[in-house]
C-alpha cells in the first residue's frame, strides 16, 4: 500500500545512533538510519543524504528523496574511502593518531550506497568531475537537443548539469536513435520519448505513490521506450506530478504545453483551494495571467505532490465575465454601477438600523480566516444567523479530502460557524420566509443552489452579495461587491488538520474588485467599533489573539509552510 502523504510519514524515527563521517573534508554527524519514503521503515542512510546534510549537492537524475532508489542514471557517482583495517581487525592509525583511510579503488553511486562510520566522501576530485562529464555525455548521445521547442527548458537538469559538466561540442558523429515524439500518454500528459533519459522516476511515482502501476519501459538497449500499459490511458488523478519530477522534458503537461516559457513565470507561494487538504503550491504567472500551479514541498501537508484536479483548477480566475464593478440596485430597476464609498456607506447605514436578529450572513468556506473572522464579529454584534455552504466529494488515499472547501476548519476556528456546516441554512430560509430576517449578506456563494431560491430571496429588504463570478444570486443582489480570488489577495486558510497556511498575491484583480478582508473592515468598523487594520498581518495577529483556537500564532509564525492551530490538533 502506498503511504498517504497526509499521514505523518515524516515523524521522527526513534532515537538512533549517529555516525561521524567526512564529506569533502568537513566532518558531520548523521543518523545511521533514516526513514524509507515508501515503507516508512528505517533503512541505512545513504551517501547522497549525508552529502545533502553537509550542504554538498551531488548531481543526480533518477534519485528523488520521496521515491524508492533506483540507481540507474549513474550521475551521482562519488569517490569515497573507509578506515583501513589491519589483520587484527583494528583500524590502522596514522602517525598523528587518526585513522588511516583506504580509498576505494572504484567509485560508488551516492544514492544507493550506505554510509559507514569514519567514511570519507569526495565529491570534488578530478575523477568525480570526469565521471560526471562522461555520464552526461552518454545521456546526451541520443538526446534530441531540441531545447528551443522543449517546455522543460529553463528548469531542466540536463541543461543545468550541461552548464557545469557538459562539453561544448558533441563527439557523437553517428546518427542518433529516433523515438516517437508527441506520444499521447493520457488525457493530461504528453510524452516525448526522444528526450527521455530512462530515469524511471515517473514509473516509481505512479507505482509507489499514486498506487497505479501504469507506466513501464519497453524494448531494449538504445531503443528503450517509456510507455503506458497497452490500451489503458495514463489517467489517474496524480499524473501531472510525473511532469514535475521528470528531470528532462520527456513528460509534459498538455495544459501548460507551449503556453509560456518558464523563465518568464513569477512564482508566488500559495495554497490550493480545491479541497480541505490545502496542498502548498507555487502559482506561475506572467503579466497578471496565471499559467500554472505546481506543488511546493511541505512534508506536513502534501510532500511534493498535488492532484491533477486541483492543479488545473485555476482558469476561472482569468475568466472574461468576472464581476468588475460595484453596483447598487436603484428603486424599481436594474443594477447601476456605483462606487465603493457609496455602496459601503449604504450597506453600513442599513446594518446600523437593522434590529437585532433581522440579519443573516452566508459566507463561503472558500473565504479566508481573516474574512470569516470579520464576519463573525459583525454577526455577533447584529445577532445574526451565520452559515457556510458545505461541499463534499470522494476522498482518496493520498491527498484529496472529502471536504471540498479549503477553509471549513477556519470557519469554525474563527467562530463564524458554531454548528455543522450547512445545518443553519434551512433555519435561515425559514426565517426569511417568516419575515424575521430582512437583510441577507452573501459572500462568495450562489445560495439559490443551496435552498434559498429566487422567490425566497425576493422577500428580503436587502440582499448584499459579494462574489467573483456572476451567478443567479449576484443577479438578484441589491448591492453587488466584486471580490477577489485567492491568487489576487493575501490571507490564510486552515486546512482539515488545523494547519494555518498563508498565501500570497500572484496577480492583480480585474476592474474594481477588492480583497474581501479590506472592504469587510470598512463595513464592520462603524458597526463593531473595532478600528480597521492597515495590513493583513495586523488583522491576522488581532484575530489570533481574539480566538482561542489560534491563540499562539502570529503572521510571522506561519512562515512558508504554515503552523498548526492549537485548538484543532487531531
Amino acid at each position: 500500500m502506498p503511504p498517504t502523504a497526509t499521514q505523518e510519514t515524516e515523524t521522527q524515527a526513534p532515537v538512533i545512533d549517529t555516525i561521524a563521517i567526512k564529506v569533502d573534508g568537513r566532518e558531520i554527524s548523521i543518523p545511521k538510519l533514516s526513514v524509507d519514503p515508501i515503507s516508512g521503515r528505517p533503512v541505512p542512510t545513504t551517501m547522497i543524504q549525508a552529502c545533502a546534510a553537509a550542504g554538498v549537492e551531488v548531481p543526480h537524475y533518477c534519485y528523488h528523496p520521496k521515491l524508492p532508489v533506483s540507481g540507474n542514471c549513474r550521475m551521482c557517482l562519488v569517490e569515497f574511502g573507509t578506515p583501513a583495517m589491519g589483520p587484527d581487525r583494528k583500524p590502522i592509525l596514522n602517525a598523528d593518531g587518526t585513522s588511516k583511510i583506504a580509498k576505494s579503488p572504484r567509485p560508488a553511486i551516492a544514492c544507493a550506497s550506505p554510509v559507514s562510520p569514519g567514511m570519507e566522501i569526495y565529491t570534488t576530485t578530478p575523477g568525480v568531475k570526469e565521471m560526471r562529464t562522461s555520464i552526461l555525455e552518454f545521456l546526451l548521445i541520443n538526446h534530441p537537443l531540441d531545447c528551443p521547442i522543449c517546455d522543460q527548458a529553463g528548469e531542466c537538469k540536463l541543461q543545468e548539469y550541461s552548464m557545469e559538466y557538459g562539453q561544448a561540442e558533441s563527439r557523437f558523429a553517428e546518427t542518433k536513435v529516433h523515438k516517437p515524439k508527441q506520444v499521447d500518454l493520457g488525457p493530461r500528459i504528453m510524452l516525448d520519448d526522444e528526450r527521455c533519459i530512462l530515469c524511471t522516476r515517473c514509473i516509481r511515482f505512479t507505482r509507489d505513490i499514486a498506487g497505479d502501476d501504469a507506466l513501464g519501459i519497453l524494448n531494449r538497449g538504445g531503443h528503450n521506450t517509456l510507455s503506458h500499459y497497452p490500451g489503458k490511458p495514463f489517467d489517474n488523478n496524480y499524473t501531472l506530478n510525473t511532469a514535475d519530477i521528470c528531470p528532462v522534458g520527456a513528460l509534459t503537461s498538455k495544459d501548460f504545453r507551449f503556453q509560456m516559457r518558464v523563465w518568464f513565470l513569477k512564482e508566488t507561494n500559495s495554497v490550493c483551494t480545491s479541497c480541505a487538504t490545502g496542498c502548498n503550491i507555487k502559482i506561475g504567472s506572467r503579466e497578471d495571467r496565471i499559467y500554472r500551479y505546481v506543488p511546493r514541498d511541505n512534508d506536513s501537508v502534501n510532500s511534493c505532490w498535488m492532484c491533477d484536479e486541483g492543479r488545473l483548477n485555476y482558469k476561472w480566475i482569468g475568466r472574461e465575465d468576472r464581476i468588475q464593478t460595484v453596483s447598487i440596485r436603484k428603486a424599481g430597476g436594474g443594477l447601476e454601477s456605483s462606487s465603493w464609498t457609496e455602496a459601503l456607506k449604504h450597506v453600513t447605514g442599513l446594518l446600523k438600523q437593522a434590529t437585532p436578529g433581522s440579519v443573516a450572513i452566508i459566507a463561503s468556506a472558500r473565504q479566508t480566516n481573516e474574512e470569516l473572522f470579520l464576519l463573525s464579529t459583525l454577526a455577533k454584534k447584529l445577532d445574526a444567523l451565520t452559515d457556510v455552504v458545505p461541499r463534499s466529494g470522494q476522498a482518496d488515499a493520498l491527498l484529496v479530502s472529502a471536504d471540498r472547501n479549503p477553509n471549513t476548519t477556519g470557519a469554525a476556528l474563527t467562530g463564524f460557524i458554531t454548528a455543522k456546516p450547512g445545518s443553519i441554512l434551512p433555519k435561515i430560509a425559514e426565517s426569511i420566509r417568516s419575515g424575521r430576517i430582512r437583510t441577507l449578506l452573501v459572500i462568495g456563494e450562489d445560495v439559490t443552489r443551496h435552498g434559498l431560491d429566487a422567490a425566497l430571496l425576493g422577500k428580503l429588504d436587502t440582499l448584499v452579495v459579494s462574489d467573483i463570478l456572476p451567478n443567479a444570486t449576484t443577479a438578484l443582489a441589491h448591492v453587488l461587491l466584486p471580490g477577489r480570488a485567492h491568487a489576487e489577495k493575501r490571507g490564510t486558510f486552515t486546512n482539515i488538520k488545523g494547519r494555518v497556511q498563508k498565501f500570497m498575491r500572484a496577480v492583480e484583480a480585474p476592474g474594481e474588485a477588492r480583497a474581501e478582508w479590506e472592504f469587510l473592515q470598512e463595513l464592520t468598523t462603524p458597526i463593531t467599533g473595532q478600528a480597521g487594520f492597515a495590513g493583513i498581518e495586523a488583522l491576522f495577529n488581532h484575530m489570533a489573539a481574539e480566538r482561542p483556537g489560534l491563540k499562539h500564532l502570529t503572521w510571522s509564525d506561519l512562515k512558508d509552510s504554515g503552523a498548526t492551530a492549537s485548538g484543532s490538533e487531531g
Binding site: P144, C147, P148, I149, A153, T175, K176, V177, H178, K179, P180, K181, Q182, V183, D192, L218, N219, H223, T225, S227, K254, D255, R257, F258, Q259, M260, R261, W263, F264
Partner: protein, 186 residues
Amino acid sequence: MIVKRRALSFWERLYVPALLGGIKVTLGHFFKKSVTMQYPEEKWTVPEGYRGAPYLVKDQEDRTKCVSCQLCEFVCPPRAITITPPGPTASAEAGNVEKMPKEFEINMLRCIFCGFCQEVCPEEAIFLMKDYSLTGTNREEMIYNKEKLLSLGGIHQDPIQKWKQKLREAREQGIGAEGHSDKVDP
C-alpha cells in the same frame, strides 16, 4: 587658463583678403565632385555587418524558422518583442518542429537595433537587416506583426536545415512524420 590674443596684423585687419580666400575655396568646390547626397531619393549603402531593423526569415522550403522559444523576447533590452506562443493545439504547418509562434510582434519604436535577438536566436530565425529608416503615420503601424516581419525578412538560405535532417533520420528509422508511432516490439 587665459589664452593671450595675438593682435591682428595690418594685412589681416584689411578683411578683404580673408574674404577672397573664402570665395576661392567655395569656387574650387564648383569644379570638384559633389559630396551632397539627395536623401531620401538617394541612400547610403550601409557597410557589411550593419545592424538595422530585425526581421524574421523563412528557410528555403518556406517554413517559418522561428519556433517561439522566446529567448529574444527575454533578452530584448527595451522589451520591444512580444511573442504569443502557440499553445497545446498542434499546427499542421509546424510539422516535426511542433512549435511556431501564433503571433510575433516587434515594436519598432522601441527597438534599439542592438542585435541581441539575432545573437541569442538558436534557430537563426531573426536577422538584423539593412533597413534603418522605418516610418509610419501612427504608433500602431510601427508595431510589426509576424506577417509583416516575415515578408520583410524573406528567405534565409539555411545550410544545415536541422529539422529537415531530423525528420529524414526519423523516417529512415521508421518513426512517422508527426512521431505518432505506437509500433512497439513485443
